[in-house]
Point group: C2
């Protein structure tokens, strides 16, 4: 039960460093991979990462088995591979990993955003991976954490219940059994459409950023993002996008949580409407806006969260004009085409599936076309 298996963490950002240090402190043989060697030079020299955390939380120096920028070396002994990078990098990571993955390995996206596991599976297959690997995704990242220095990380909070699903979902138990030896916090997330459609950042991040564009750029984000930035009109837009997301989910047989339900569940924050509920979440006080519009709230959440939701909506006959409007304005602001860069159902290879076939695919892993 408490076998200390080999774990590789891919990505040495705010999240990856915290996770690697924590795993090492829990005595799992831990490897940390980062594509850019410079970025992990200090960790490599020290041989590990100093971890700080909340009162009673994990802390100390986590000794790493290996710090590397060689993906083959990084994956060699891993039983479990934790992908802790922005979802816009998932496809690149999948391409790098494809040839080195081996039978029995479990790969978990922390988190998948929307359709991350589907994308990862498709890309590794297309790049020559024939190993029997299980791909899974978390609905959100298990920590609130921050990098405090080149070889320092800090965990503010470990979330209590994070839904996780494997692709196919009939392997959920396999992944949960294994990961529970490390993180008892993960719970059964149903399937990857459920974890993907419950991606709340899709609703909260891009629209809230865009509807405060002038304020963010004029003040470099010097206002409270949720508390000042969410007003009755802004909340009305978020609610409208949220309804579209929940309706798209329903069209593929998924009962997604509304933003209101999620605030209640996660923070016990309630209210007459989304505006009130957000202002009733004490944790939002003091969180400033992003300092610039060149931020993952747009360049990650638009293509990796809003585009797949809108793309599924269009396929199965749901009006997604609010989400589409936000994608369009984001595309203008960043002078790019987020539809083209995003996870559309065509790119994910699921455009020809009926809803039954789609569910069959995420449950059983069989891509049958009618």
């Amino acid at each position: 039960m408490s076998e200390k298996f080999n774990i590789t963490v891919i990505g040495a950002g705010h999240g990856g460093k915290a996770m690697a240090a924590h795993l090492a402190l829990m005595e799992f043989p831990t490897v940390l991979y980062n594509r850019t060697a410079d970025h992990v030079a200090a960790i490599k020299e020290l041989g590990g990462i100093y971890l700080e955390s909340y009162e009673g939380g994990p802390r100390g120096f986590g000794n790493l088995d290996l710090v590397t920028s060689d993906i083959a070396e990084a994956l060699e002994k891993a039983k479990m591979v934790m992908i802790v990078v922005p979802s816009s990098a998932h496809a690149d990571i999948a391409r790098s990993c494809a040839q080195y993955l081996t039978d029995g390995q479990i790969v978990i996206l922390h988190p998948g955003r929307t359709c991350g596991a589907i994308e990862f599976s498709k890309v590794i297959r297309e790049n020559g991976c024939t190993a029997d690997v299980t791909i899974a995704e978390a609905e959100t990242f298990v920590y609130a954490s921050r990098s405090d220095g080149p070889a320092q990380a800090r965990i503010f909070r470990i979330k209590e219940a994070v839904p996780l699903a494997a692709l196919p979902a009939n392997r959920n138990h396999l992944v949960l059994d294994k990961i529970h030896q490390v993180f008892p916090q993960f719970i059964d997330g149903g399937n990857v459409l459920q974890t993907g459609m419950n991606n709340m950042g899709a609703i909260f991040h891009p629209a809230l950023t865009i509807l405060n564009s002038g304020w963010i750029e004029s003040t470099h984000g010097d206002f409270q993002f949720y508390i000042d930035g969410v007003t009755p009109s802004v909340a009305r837009v978020l609610e409208s996008l949220d309804r579209e997301r929940v309706t798209v989910a329903a069209s593929i047989g998924i009962r997604a949580r509304t933003g209101m339900e999620w605030l209640k569940l996660s923070y016990d924050a309630v209210g007459e409407d989304l505006n009130e509920a957000i202002h009733n979440q004490p944790g939002y006080y003091g969180i400033n806006a992003p300092p610039t519009l060149n931020h993952r709230y747009i360049f990650e959440d638009v293509p990796m969260s809003l585009v797949p939701i809108a793309s599924l909506g269009q396929r199965y006959g749901v009006a997604v004009s609010g989400i589409d409007a936000i994608i369009k304005i984001a595309s203008i602001i960043h002078r790019t085409d987020y539809w083209r860069r995003g996870r559309t159902i065509e790119k994910l290879g699921i455009n020809n599936l009926s809803t039954d076939e789609l569910i069959h695919y995420v449950q059983e892993g069989v891509l049958g076309t009618a």
Copy 2:
């Protein structure tokens, strides 16, 4: 040449009061109409309006011939009817006027926004007007003015050159000859598609408001609208909408001015891009944002400016997805369907026209369908 003909001003807001007072001071027999009698009770009691203005500008007490809420009485003697109401009220005014308009009268919309004259003409015909009336529209309002009290008005500036066009355009000279006896500032605007497509508020007002939604509602507009609210990303959206507008204009044979050209022409403000040019317009400094999102920058400019531009674009094959995104978000914010409420080509009765027929219509007034 200096015959003092009868003029009726419809609307007693910031603009209508200033115009009525100014006309009266120029000794034109002037009638002021407002639908709501209460709104003009003070003026009626005094028998006129006190006008203040810039140094050297018109000032004094303008004696009105009549102040009324009876449209029949208001129109009875008028040679020229000045419609000085938000464009979202044009259709209602047209319905009220229809039966009382008489041969030879000139009706001018100050301003028409986009397709105002086309809408007005259609509505009066549909409501039983058979008189030979000439409808015209100004590209913008001739004054910058404000109401200073119940019977007080103030003119800050009289614009130097305001394009004006009649429907049909072959009557431009007739309208200009007449109005030049009052306002030498009006110039030939080509045709009503030109005045309508050069409507700069369509580009500057709704998107700038929406991209500052949180800031406006959090501070009640306590920041400089153009100076703080326009930032590089916001300007990029305005530029993109502006390109769509100019492209729609080109698709119907109109060479519309770009936002940059308009800033140069109107204010001699130039720059590398729209962001710079706007910040190089000294007149924008000190102008605060609207205090609320419940403002004509959305409820007037979206249905009466953006919708007709987008509708023409869709008809003649121009991509208008940026404008469409703004219309959609405005619709969500105000919980209404601005497409349904707006001036679509179907509502304007010009949906079956080829571009040649459309030009023929605005030039000659003949609604021929192929």
